[in-house]
């Protein structure tokens, strides 16, 4: 597959501050890539560097086979949907949509026709003569999207486009954006701090922290095999449990640092005495049936949303697990938790990198 956007060895400094560190990223044509991470991780800086709104300090940025490092934004042929939407307040919806065409010198009638076509796709047909201030948040969001679509750009850049919408609309727009992406056969780069958005929308998720790409890959691969503790904790909700542990004498099991010094077998060997973190997702913990092995905990709190029950334990560290049925568990009760060996993740306690397979 041809690469639509390629970044190799990209660095970005703001004075002494190292905002992007050796970024390597290849985005194939037609892909939907999500850049995700906590605030300040550099995801927006990376997107703005793609757009040309920031210049990169070193490395190569290639868009559709052309090196774009020093190209101004207007010559990169990328369209961006801003978090604030950045609609032109003094122009009607139609004028907002046709702005790029008018700049290019496209004939009035032709631009009008293009605007009507795009408006039909995004459901703005009745709003073409309104001003942005007369629109709701969701409608403005659609205008921002339409303004990008009308250009048939080399790629779409989304900078947290849904963060100003309410929860219900956000879920709806998520699907709509993805559907539009598929329909247009576009290449999209989508910045978000919401891992659910990233997981549900993207083909390829890039997780960043402190200017570094921590891991990238298909959403479920990241979920199944997080490369380090940060990724493991970032992907998945509620977050993965981490239990400090020490490798036992035989090197094939670990001693959990929980009351009762419980032993857990692992299916690869580690140097005995090594300090590790055992990660286990809340959804993979089950209450053991009688006689089953596992570890014993006492319950601190039970919260039910109706469909799911979240249980937290009174241990240090606190452990969360999920029950998919109604439960009569109460705080103070003791239960034995069990899980399948294939569902545990082991991380080095010091480097926090994944150990074993």
């Amino acid at each position: 597959m041809t690469q639509q956007i390629e970044l190799s060895g990209v660095n970005k400094y703001y004075g002494a501050y190292h905002a992007l560190r050796d970024i390597n990223l290849a985005i194939p044509k037609g892909a939907f890539v999500a850049l995700v991470g906590p605030s300040g991780c550099g995801k927006s800086t990376l997107l703005r560097s793609l757009a040309g709104l920031e210049t990169i300090s070193s490395g190569d940025l290639v868009i559709a086979g052309e090196r774009m490092n020093d190209m101004p934004p207007r010559k990169r042929d990328l369209a961006m949907v801003f978090q604030s939407y950045a609609l032109y307040p003094h122009m009607t919806v139609e004028q907002n949509l046709t702005y790029s065409l008018r700049i290019k010198g496209v004939k009035k009638a032709e631009a009008k026709k293009a605007a009507e076509e795009v408006a039909a796709i995004t459901g703005l047909s009745d709003l073409l003569h309104r001003y942005p201030r007369e629109l709701s948040g969701g409608q403005r969001q659609r205008v921002a999207m339409s303004r990008a679509i009308i250009r048939h750009p080399k790629a779409f850049l989304f900078d947290e486009p849904l963060s100003n919408l309410d929860a219900a609309l956000r879920v709806h727009m998520r699907k709509e954006i993805r559907a539009l992406h598929d329909r247009l056969g576009a290449t999209s780069v989508y910045v978000t701090h919401d891992q659910v958005e990233a997981m549900t929308m993207a083909d390829h998720v890039v997780i960043m922290r402190a200017g570094v790409i921590e891991q990238q890959g298909r959403p479920l691969d990241l979920y199944d095999r997080p490369a380090n503790r940060f990724v493991a904790g970032f992907i998945g909700s509620p977050a993965m449990n981490f239990i400090p542990a020490r490798v036992a004498e035989d090197g094939r099991s670990v001693l959990l640092d929980l009351p009762g010094s419980q032993v857990l077998a692992i299916d690869f060997s580690l140097p005995p005495g090594h300090a590790v973190l055992v990660g286990i997702r809340p959804e993979h913990l089950k209450i053991a049936s009688a006689g089953q092995s596992g570890f014993d905990v006492s319950i601190a709190a039970v919260e039910s949303t109706g469909a799911t029950t979240f249980v937290t334990t009174a241990t240090t560290p606190e452990i969360t697990f999920l029950l998919n049925e109604r439960s009569s568990l109460e705080a103070g009760e003791k239960v034995r938790l069990t899980f399948e060996g294939k569902n545990i993740h082991v991380f080095d306690a010091e480097s926090e990198q994944r150990l074993g397979t």
Partner: protein, 300 residues
């Protein structure tokens, strides 16, 4: 006691008092003189009848006589030139400076503040400074023009009838530019930066961004500043008094200076008032434009 107090505070009467006090103040100190001025323009006023309010009513005689005077049209033309020249100069230079400081080079905001020095100076002081600069024999302006080869002989800015008005216009531009610059700077900084980023991504170059984003977004600021400029230039009196005294031979005389000259030098109070009324109409128009444009804020 508290009930009495709150009944006073919540009653309709109290609201009327609150509105009434400033209204009475305005009426006494601005409304009455204005009305008195309009009244005088329809009366025959001389030194002896100055003390009384009831004077011979002459209808529009003052207006008719005023426009029969040979100097009236030249002076009104001068006023127009002064207003248009001053506003154009102040606005263009002020906008240029505002855009320049908008690039935010190190020290820009500090330097921009320093520019206000020219605006806070009293007109008479500015006039005195410009008297020196414009001086015919040893003025700095002539020196630069001569040295750069633009002129061969000295221009006698203040005494040459074809330059005297422009001498005041130049000084007034200097005086008002920084005020324009500050207001326009505020307008510029109120434009959200992401609009420029969006326009840049949409393919617009700097020039296109200026015409399609900056100017339309500045419309209300520009309307306000031109209206204020009209008001301020029609108020400009000190510079005429300090630089040319309206002369030579009325070549730099303008309506506002003439009104004063007629009333308080020639003691023709009726005609002085008549010119004031004509000017009031223009200023009212400018004030209406100002109020309209500050109300018409374009925001998304």
């Amino acid at each position: 006691m508290r009930r009495i107090l709150s009944s006073v505070r919540d009653g309709r009467g109290f609201d009327i008092v609150l509105v009434g006090v400033p209204f009475a103040f305005l009426f006494a100190l601005a409304g009455l003189p204005l009305i008195y001025n309009i009244l005088m323009s329809f009366q025959e006023v001389d030194m002896f009848s100055l003390g009384s309010v009831i004077r011979p009513f002459v209808g529009v005689d003052n207006y008719v006589a005023l426009f029969r005077q040979p100097e009236t049209w030249p002076i009104l033309t001068n006023t127009l030139i002064f207003v248009v020249g001053s506003i154009a100069g102040q606005f263009v230079i002020g906008f240029g400076l505002a855009l320049f400081f908008w690039t935010n080079f190190p020290g820009a905001s500090w330097l921009r503040g320093l520019f206000l020095v020219s605006w806070v100076m009293p007109g008479l002081v500015v006039g005195a400074i410009w008297n020196w600069i414009l001086s015919g024999d040893f003025g700095v302006l002539n020196f630069f023009l001569r040295e750069s080869g633009l002129i061969t002989a000295n221009i006698f800015w203040r005494s040459d009838p074809s330059f005297s008005l422009w001498a005041v216009v130049i000084a007034n531009i200097w005086l008002g530019t920084s005020f324009n610059m500050i207001l326009l700077s505020v307008g510029l900084s109120a434009i959200p930066g992401d609009l420029y980023e969006a326009a840049d991504m949409d393919g617009a170059n700097a020039w296109q961004r200026f015409w399609t984003i900056t100017l339309p977004m500045m419309r209300s600021t520009i309307g306000a500043i031109i209206a204020l400029g009209l008001i301020f230039t029609l108020q400009q009196f000190d510079l005429f008094a300090a630089i040319t005294d309206g002369g030579p031979n009325n070549s730099s005389n303008v309506a506002q200076y003439w009104a004063w000259d007629l009333s308080f030098r020639q003691y023709d109070f009726g005609r002085g008032a008549t010119i004031s009324v004509i000017m009031t109409v223009f200023v009212m128009f400018a004030a209406a434009v100002y109020v309209r444009s500050t109300r018409h804020e374009v925001r998304g």
